[in-house]
């Protein structure tokens, strides 16, 4: 690779580099910060993310492959990049007060968040299974450590270890899948998988490789039956980290699914093989996630199972192997990010301190004591349940429409029925807030401006996307168009 190609390639990946650089700057700055100017962490972080956003938008051009076919810069990666940058920015905002409250060492925390975000972005830009693997490892390792952020809190350490154990297991499965695919097809480049297949690669060994890849990625997304780690890890991890984990790694894993299965294993006979598997996984996830959420006594755990259920809905979009399906997946990712971050921020606010068990009783009478907060929480619950005019409704509508369009009526029916079921446990929160008397006399909650910003942005985003879904959907459709072009 000569110098011009190198410069071009680096230019295409500048947003990723910007995020990485910001992380490094924060890590170094941490050596010199005093408690008085700790706000610089958040400031530098947000500034870096903003720069990365500008770089992403300004480098939108013709889709191109960079670094000898290892990465791509196209509309799909740009869409995901913006989503990931949004997740990172919202996480930084909501962590600002959390970090001070729980006395966490902020430098490493923000650095790891930014490293994880870099990992997310590289997953979306990957054009080769090697890159997918390395990017997933980056984000995974950063997230394992983030889960164990509260070093004095045994639940946090336990969550981190469980997450690490099952995460490393899933990485090994994913790797074995890559090794097998490499063996059968002689190539790990996603663009060439389809070509290599034409020369007689279809065999039990290839199917085994694909199955292993599905197992590996399935763990990351927490679909049933690879979901066992998620409730415990989401429950034990610090709430700000849980908010990040439900949004970022999930979206990144779905990006990986899109790249690997829609760009890689995209020939019709292969699609026939993996679509039924995905359908079964989606159905199981929707059913189990929603049913078990009903029984939860802790709001944090309930949201954890709801996160599993939502991954199931998003999976339906994958099963519907068409343009509406893929673009609805993108839309759903953005919508779910907003809903989830908003809900977990509310959790963080109402709980006041980390050791609370997140019982539903915390919310009793919130309608009278803090009407605005209660209204916001109600909005988040409605959105998660899928009521119009929220983004949650629009997302589910598009996903199920895609399923119907592709002929998967059964999945759409299961999706609708389980969504109706989910209203029960979301409504429970709303009822407790408005129909019960406040329990003990507690001082009024005072929100930091950053927290208010997060709640405001997520709430407005949910309403905007719900009332005017066309804007985001159009962008999503543009982004996925390249997945359905005829192969070169």
């Amino acid at each position: 690779m000569d110098a011009t190609a190198l410069l071009e390639s680096t230019g295409a990946l500048l947003p990723h580099l910007m995020v990485l650089l910001t992380g490094l700057v924060i890590l170094t700055m941490d050596l010199f910060l005093t408690p008085r100017n700790r706000y610089l962490n958040e400031l530098v972080g947000l500034a870096g993310l903003l720069l990365a956003l500008i770089l992403t938008l300004s480098s939108l051009g013709t889709p191109r492959q960079v670094f000898m076919g290892m990465a791509v810069s196209d509309h799909l990666s740009a869409f995901f990049n913006v989503t990931f940058l949004l997740i990172a920015a919202l996480t930084i905002l909501l962590s600002a007060s959390y970090v001070r409250r729980e006395n966490v060492s902020a430098g490493e925390y923000y650095t790891l968040i930014l490293f994880a975000t870099t990992g997310f972005m590289f997953v979306a830009a990957a054009a080769d299974l090697v890159m997918v693997f390395l990017a997933i490892e980056t984000l995974s390792i950063a997230t394992y450590i983030l889960a164990g952020l509260l070093r004095d809190e045994p639940r946090s350490q336990e969550a981190a270890f469980k997450y690490f154990m099952l995460g490393a297991l899933s990485s090994a499965f994913f790797l074995y899948g890559i090794a097998t695919v490499y063996g059968v097809l002689g190539n790990t480049s996603l663009g060439h998988l389809a070509q290599a297949l034409g020369q007689g690669g279809m065999s039990p060994l290839l199917l085994m490789g694909m199955a292993l890849l599905i197992v590996g990625l399935g763990f990351k997304v927490a679909v049933v039956p690879f979901h066992m780690w998620a409730p415990d890890v989401y429950d034990g991890a610090p709430t700000a980290v849980t908010a990040f984990m439900t949004a970022g790694p999930k979206a990144a894993a779905f990006a990986a699914f899109l790249r690997v299965f829609f760009q890689g294993f995209a020939t019709p006979d292969l699609v026939q093989q993996w679509t039924p598997v995905f359908a079964i996984l989606a159905a199981l996830t929707m059913i189990l996630g929603n049913f078990v959420a009903l029984a939860q006594q802790s709001l944090k755990r309930m949201l954890a199972y709801s996160s599993i259920a939502h991954a199931g809905y998003a999976f339906v979009a994958l099963v519907a192997h068409n343009s509406l399906g893929a673009s609805s997946l993108l839309y759903y990712m953005v919508a779910y990010t907003l809903m989830s971050l908003g809900a977990f921020t509310m959790l963080m606010v109402v709980a006041r301190r980390e050791e609370q068990p997140y019982a539903f009783d915390d919310y009793a009478g919130l309608g009278t004591t803090h009407p605005l907060l209660a209204a916001l929480m109600a909005l988040f619950m409605f959105a998660l349940a899928g009521f119009p005019p929220t983004a949650g409704f629009a997302g589910k509508f598009y996903v199920f429409s895609a399923a119907v369009q592709a002929g998967h009526y059964g999945l759409a029916v299961i999706g609708v029925l389980t969504s109706v079921l989910s209203v029960v446990y979301y409504a429970r929160v709303i009822m407790i807030m408005y129909m019960r008397e406040p329990e003990r006399h507690q001082p009024a909650l005072q929100l930091a401006p950053t927290t208010m910003a997060v709640l405001g942005i997520t709430a407005l985003g949910i309403l905007y996307m719900g009332i005017f879904p066309g804007g985001v959907m159009q962008l999503a459709e543009q982004s996925v168009a390249l997945l359905f072009q005829t192969k070169m």
């Binding site: 004095d152 297991l169 063996g183 890890v233 034990g236």
Partner: protein, 100 residues
């Protein structure tokens, strides 16, 4: 010369033994060792394919896997030490504040 399936079977056996170790043992450090076993199995598979395809990319990928495996070992052991510090045990059954 030794046919490819034998090498692959060796790798598959190591992988499967590692899976049993991860899922069934209670000692956190042994679980970590089992994960290293699985990653070694993957490496062996990659290099076998690399040899039979006469293609170096398998070996190069193995280098990356080794790097990642080493970093996972470091993080995993740091987590074990952190767990131990809090509870003075690395028996995973006592690590049960969160229900399985």
């Amino acid at each position: 010369m030794v046919p490819l399936p034998l090498y692959l079977a060796f790798g598959a056996l190591l992988f499967v033994i590692g899976v049993v170790g991860v899922l069934a043992r209670r000692n956190a450090i042994i679980v970590l060792m089992s994960i290293e076993l699985m990653l070694n199995a993957v490496n062996l598979t990659l290099i076998s394919f690399s040899h039979y395809l006469q293609d170096l990319r398998g070996q190069v990928f193995t280098l990356f896997v080794i790097a990642v495996a080493a970093s996972e070992a470091a993080v995993g052991l740091a987590l074990v030490i952190s767990l131990y510090r809090g509870k003075a045990t690395f028996n995973l059954d006592e690590v049960n504040l969160l229900k399985w």
